[in-house]
């Protein structure tokens, strides 16, 4: 008999505050598993952002720093510059990273900071109650765009991976998803690569993970997975946007 799946030692015993079916839980578990498997739990400094991701520090069994809204990449920069040999990452949602923190994420990539960013894109502001995010899809109904996102009024959704991949200091950018088991297994590989490239001193890595917000979307958890697959992936195609080889 072999245990093929058990809870990671990278996770604490604290139950998450996430709504049922929110895939934040899956993504954080993947981070925990990767750090555990790489033997990095004791040498990692995580930077949590504002939004649903803020309480990450209660769930991951590592030292963590809470960051003001949008500033996790700056906080991580400070930490990495003090501890160049430690593993430093940010865990940010789309409101945090793609709206209030766009300058910070662009410039952490621009400087080629040797950190890893886990970018959770669920196309909405979850924690504050379902407002429009820069990543909200055209026509998607949210509390601050009750008629659906009007692109003539609010612009098209921001494609963060495509944008960051253009920046020379970014060495690895991939968009993954967690809408089915296969996608989850692949997402873990991508997250692992992001940390391995950091350990190898390559530069900045960003892994964008398409995620669900059943509560904000007004869908059941299971229907949310389908919605992600049918609506988000066509606009946010999965794949690798930058590799260290291309960055050279």
């Amino acid at each position: 008999m072999s245990v093929i799946f058990a809870k990671s030692k990278g996770l604490t015993d604290q139950e998450t505050h996430y709504c049922p079916g929110c895939t934040h839980g899956i993504i954080q578990r993947l981070v925990a598993e990767v750090l555990e498997e790489l033997g990095l739990l004791g040498d990692t400094i995580g930077c949590a952002a504002v939004g649903c991701s803020i309480l990450t520090y209660n769930y991951l069994n590592i030292d963590m720093i809470e960051s003001a809204h949008g500033r996790a990449p700056a906080v991580a920069t400070g930490a990495k510059r003090v501890h160049p040999n430690k593993t430093v990452f940010t865990y940010q949602g789309d409101g945090d990273l793609a709206s209030i923190g766009t300058a910070e994420i662009v410039h952490v990539a621009h400087r080629g900071e040797k950190i890893t960013t886990i970018f959770v894109n669920n196309a909405i502001y979850g924690m504050t109650g379902g407002q429009m995010a820069p990543t909200t899809l055209p026509g998607q109904k949210v509390t601050t765009a009750p008629g659906g996102r009007d692109v003539a009024h609010s612009g098209m959704p921001l494609k963060v991976s495509e944008m960051i991949a253009q920046i020379p200091g970014a060495v690895y950018v991939e968009r993954v998803s967690v809408h089915n088991p296969r996608a989850v297994r692949h997402a873990k590989k991508a997250i692992r690569k992001g940390f391995e490239y950091q350990m190898a001193g390559k530069g900045f890595s960003l892994i964008e993970v398409l995620s669900t917000c059943p509560t904000g979307w007004g869908l059941s958890p299971v229907d949310s997975l389908t919605w992600l697959q049918e609506n988000m992936i066509p606009y946010y195609p999965l794949g690798v946007f930058k590799t260290p080889e291309e960055a050279k």
Binding site: D63, I65, A68, G70, G78, R81, K86, T87, A103, H110
Partner: protein, 352 residues
């Protein structure tokens, strides 16, 4: 070490290195640019790290990240840049992260001017950040005093686990004066066992955070912070008295303005008018005790600032109605000259 002739900004930068600064993060703004320029050149030679941030927001949060992981980090900026950093100040104070922030004040509000000002007194003592917090604020009046305050700042920050302000202005920053750097006073500093540096598998994870959703717990935290602020207020407030014995008028001024006021007092003395000066060296804690020891001859108080009247509030609180408190100020980047203050004082005292 022999004396050097240095700009106030450069002396602050060198003093930061001598005070044990390990990391500087900042964003260019006049009139403080000599600080980052000096540190970009000299801090790496001393084994430290200089990094230019993309904004003041990023700079203060880099300081936050570095301080959270045990670094001795600082930033410097000028008024509008400090305004942008206020979110970070509140976070630093809440997370109790030792750090040093220099404000070389310029005229405001808004973008204002690059000329000297003291209109950030509220910003430095009340803060633009949210919540109940206080930040130890040193206000040097000479290049030498700035260097000494800066050399002590990092240790004080570590000792109290708190951010520390150095409040300068465009005049002090740009002027050159002789300065010497004494040995840094020894202070036993606590271990940073709270820092997020990786738990190494040997302890529970450290978390640096400011979010406390439970009102009861947040109130407890606030009360604990207030206890610390009370302790700082009791031990760190500083002021200088200048010719206050037998003064019929006591002036109150800090920083650059205090230098000018001293000239005014000397000019008045030549005419037989006895005036003195209380010069706060810390803006928070405000040296209220200085106003408990006023000479019996004192009839009135005059606060002079390069602002439209900010510190005067604290002077009124300290005097608490026992004597009239008047105000004279210039703003917009105008530095008052000794003679105009003398003229104002004569009117005030009915000696025209």
């Amino acid at each position: 070490m022999p004396k050097s002739l240095m700009k106030g900004n450069e002396a602050l930068a060198l003093a930061a290195i001598k005070g044990g600064c390990s990391h500087f993060f900042g964003y260019p703004i006049t009139p403080q640019n000599e600080i980052p320029e000096f540190l970009a050149r000299e801090l790496p030679k001393a084994g430290g790290v200089f990094l230019q941030a993309e904004s003041e927001l990023a700079a203060i949060n880099m300081v936050y990240g570095a301080a959270a992981t045990g670094g001795r980090a600082m930033t410097s900026s000028s008024s509008p840049g400090i305004a942008l950093m206020q979110e970070g100040m509140s976070s630093l104070a809440a997370a109790e992260l030792p750090s040093v922030i220099v404000n070389v004040q310029r005229g405001g509000p808004g973008i204002g001017t690059i000329q000297p000002s003291q209109a950030d007194y509220y910003q430095m003592t009340r803060g633009g950040g949210n919540g109940d917090y206080r930040i130890l604020s040193f206000a040097p009046a000479t290049v030498q005093e700035g260097a000494e305050m800066m050399m002590a700042a990092f240790d004080l920050a570590d000792f109290y686990r708190t951010p520390v302000f150095i409040v300068s202005d465009g005049m002090l920053g740009q002027m050159m004066e002789p300065v010497e750097f004494p040995e840094r006073p020894l202070r036993t500093l606590p271990e940073k066992s709270w820092a997020a540096v990786g738990h190494g598998g040997s302890r529970k994870p450290n978390t640096i955070k400011t979010l406390v959703l439970d009102p009861g717990l947040l109130e407890q935290k606030n009360l604990r912070l207030q206890e610390k602020f009370t302790r700082i207020a009791a031990t760190e407030s500083r002021f200088e008295n200048y010719r206050t014995d037998e003064a019929e008028l006591v002036l109150c001024a800090y920083g650059s303005t205090a230098r000018i006021v001293k000239n005014s007092i000397d000019l008045l003395a030549e005419e037989g008018i006895k005036a003195g000066l209380i010069r706060p060296q810390t803006l928070w804690p405000f040296p209220s005790s200085a106003f408990q020891q006023l000479p019996p001859t004192c009839r009135t108080i005059l606060t002079v600032e390069m602002s439209c009247g900010q510190m005067v509030d604290d002077v009124r609180l300290a005097v608490n109605g026992r004597l009239p408190v008047a105000f004279y100020g210039r703003s917009g980047g105008i530095i008052p000259v000794p003679e105009e203050i003398v003229a104002h004082i004569k009117v005030l005292l009915g000696r025209v």
